[in-house]
Symmetry: C2
Subunit: 427 residues, 2 copies
């Protein structure tokens, strides 16, 4: 059946619906317990880094400092150099921290709220209102963080080449309350989009009403490619310098989905004014990061090429899972006109758009069949998808066989929910 579902006669639609109801009943009978909710590496991926469990072999860094002791707020120089090469920046613009880049982002916003940053006329907490531009669909934790801070979120569409620049510009140019913007520039969460050089250049050069407008450049998937041809991240910091806005971007990265998700290293890269500002306040909160873990990672990667090679081993494990998602969705849904989905070249997610008004139903159907999906709407501020059509799929954690089983089930749910919806509309 390849005719668009919306074009079916009432009788054919009724048949389609009852077929899918039968398929769903069978699905429920399987007693599945599968989880596609979060972007977590699988055990097999984590095993790739098990050498970390008996590293480091030494306790001194190359300057002779004991990594076991206090100090070194900016992180181990050797590790900063590896990330400087990977992110195309100067070593002294790179800081290495604890196990979570999310924590560093939270801390940077906290510091801006309490003290303001370079270019600020006052702490953000003293502004009548603070707003952030949020490309949607986007990363749910970015949005829940802003909600907790009481920061207002302004949605703009995410395109295949990054955020809709005209929409962003219209907000940033006129309103001095717009202080920040999220972006996952490479293999975006959840759409997989890669921000083009052109879009990045516009984001870095556009005028901003706020003198301290910041772009939170969360390059979480910079090195997380699913294809042999590897997408290049736009060089946000250089573009910002060239545009005369050196302090605009703050770049975040981490090894959470490179080594151990819970025990990796977070990275911040920014202008010297921003890093100095950050370290000034960080010095009140820390005597230094876990440099043993830094040295552990340096010994493990050896250099930037070591990290790149390591990522290719991840690709071998997870690329087939993404192919399985596409295959399962295609097999069930191609030609029906009720769903579109991304074919990402990297990252951790497949972005599934179902028939408008059915995403919540699909997630519920899947749940009742033992398949956990991220709640519908998660990729939007306050969890509100205005079209109720977006579903984020995270296929890395389950086994390949489980991905195949789960996605066949999800496809059934998508078709069933669409058929229900079209039937009720028709009726």
């Amino acid at each position: 059946m390849t005719a668009p579902l919306a074009d079916l006669s009432p009788a054919d639609l009724a048949t389609f619906l009852s077929d899918r109801q039968a398929a769903y009943a069978e699905l429920q009978g399987k007693g599945l317990k599968l989880d596609l909710t979060r972007g977590k590496p699988s055990s097999e991926q984590l095993d790739l880094s098990n050498d970390l469990l008996h590293l480091p072999t030494g306790v001194l860094d190359r300057s002779g400092a004991d990594v076991r002791n206090y100090g070194g707020l900016e992180g181990l120089a050797e590790l900063r150099e590896i990330f400087a090469e990977l992110l195309w920046v100067e070593k002294d613009q790179v800081l290495c921290g604890g196990n979570s880049s999310l924590s560093v982002m939270h801390q940077v916003i906290t510091f801006l709220l309490l003290w303001g940053g370079p270019g600020s006329t006052r702490p953000w907490k003293d502004e009548p209102v603070v707003k952030f531009v949020c490309p949607v669909p986007g990363y749910d934790r970015h949005f829940t963080m802003l909600a907790d801070f009481g920061i207002e979120m302004l949605s703009v569409p995410m395109r295949d080449d990054g955020p809709d620049v005209d929409a962003v510009r219209a907000l940033v140019e006129k309103d001095p309350a717009v202080k920040g913007m999220w972006i996952v520039p490479t293999h975006a969460n959840p759409t997989g989009a890669v921000c083009s050089q052109d879009v990045a250049a516009e984001l870095m050069s556009m005028p901003s009403a706020a003198p301290d407008f910041r772009i939170f450049w969360d390059n979480a998937y910079a090195f997380h490619h699913l294809t042999e041809e590897e997408a290049k991240s736009a060089d946000a910091l250089s573009l910002a310098v060239a545009a005369g806005n050196p302090d605009r971007p703050i770049v975040f990265a981490s090894t959470s989905k490179i080594t151990f998700a819970g025990a990796g290293v977070a990275v911040l890269a920014a202008s010297k004014a921003n890093t100095a500002w950050y370290l000034q306040h960080l010095a009140m909160a820390s005597i230094g990061p876990d440099k043993v873990n830094h040295l552990r990672h340096v010994e493990f990667f050896k250099d930037a090429d070591g990290l790149r090679a390591h990522m290719r081993r991840h690709r071998q494990i997870i690329a087939p899972k993404f192919q399985a998602v596409d295959a399962a969705l295609s097999a069930e849904l191609d030609g029906l006109g009720i769903a579109t989905w991304s074919k990402p070249t990297g990252g951790y997610f497949v972005n599934l758009d179902v028939l408008d008004g059915t995403a919540t139903r699909v997630v519920q159907l899947a749940k009742d069949a033992g398949i956990s999906l991220t709640p519908a709407g998660s990729a939007f501020p306050h969890g509100q998808d205005p079209d109720d059509r977006n579903i984020r799929l995270a296929p890395t954690f389950p086994s390949l066989a489980d991905v195949e089983t789960a996605m066949a089930g999800v496809a059934t749910c998508v078709a069933l929910a669409a058929a229900e919806k079209l039937s009720s509309t028709a009726g």
Copy 2:
């Protein structure tokens, strides 16, 4: 010479001064380069924990969860249980985090500023002014943190059995702007005082004008004893519950001076209302702590007794250094009436009070002789010691021989500065 220096005749004082000038010239000739500034463990102490470098042997916690992956915001249950036993609290009141309890303290104050906590009528940032009670001398990083937050500091004297409770009560009882108080209850930094049960009970039960008054109970040296008889920490949380102020204390501890100073585990213990409040905001900033490091520590300690036994091995290394400090000061200064110093039963510091008005001079003299000391005044808010008499000595990091050499030099500087002062006053 055992007559008090102040009682000497002008001629004898002149002789004493010129003797000390000669001794100081000799000291300068030695070309020393010694550092007594910070409370850092020595390499020998760090070596005690080197088994951590090839742990953990497993990757699953006892519930079967993979410690390498995301999750478990409250920390590994096994580690929380060890600290629950050590701190005499329920496991679900204990949270284990990253490598720095200072970071957790900073975060707790940040959360209180941005959101307020249990009992708050509004976020602390919206108060006209926020004040903290600061027992002095105290921990310099506590004070610099408050200065950065713009929190006003109110000094109260530190006694041998803890803070001067009458002074604390007078501030807390009347002024609703007094929102918090620091205390290092056990083997205090820098005085070595141990807060008695009576003082602790009064701190937990005294009325407070602020409904959300918090005591930051930084029990950094809870297990860090220098004598066979081990000081018991007052049970702040139970005392607070008994007094009807369960949310008043927030207890901090860490393994920074137990295992690796830079790569240990921080601990927070508090009422269920406080831990729930903390986790609620922490969830926006983190997907979980480094559970690999948690398991590493569990495998290393095995249990609470394992930690206690480990601390006795530290004691064997550092107790002789504290004895050397006392011996050097006694040899040079006993009977002169120009200095008193603590004989701590635990912790990392010796508190040296020199002749009023000479601490800055002593630190300068020492520096010019190649002996680095913590800047005079560091143990007071804004670095201002009103009597210019307090010097914090940190003898753990250098070798025993270096401590002996450095402290003989410090004693010379103390005597010289006192003789200079008394001579100029006499003249």
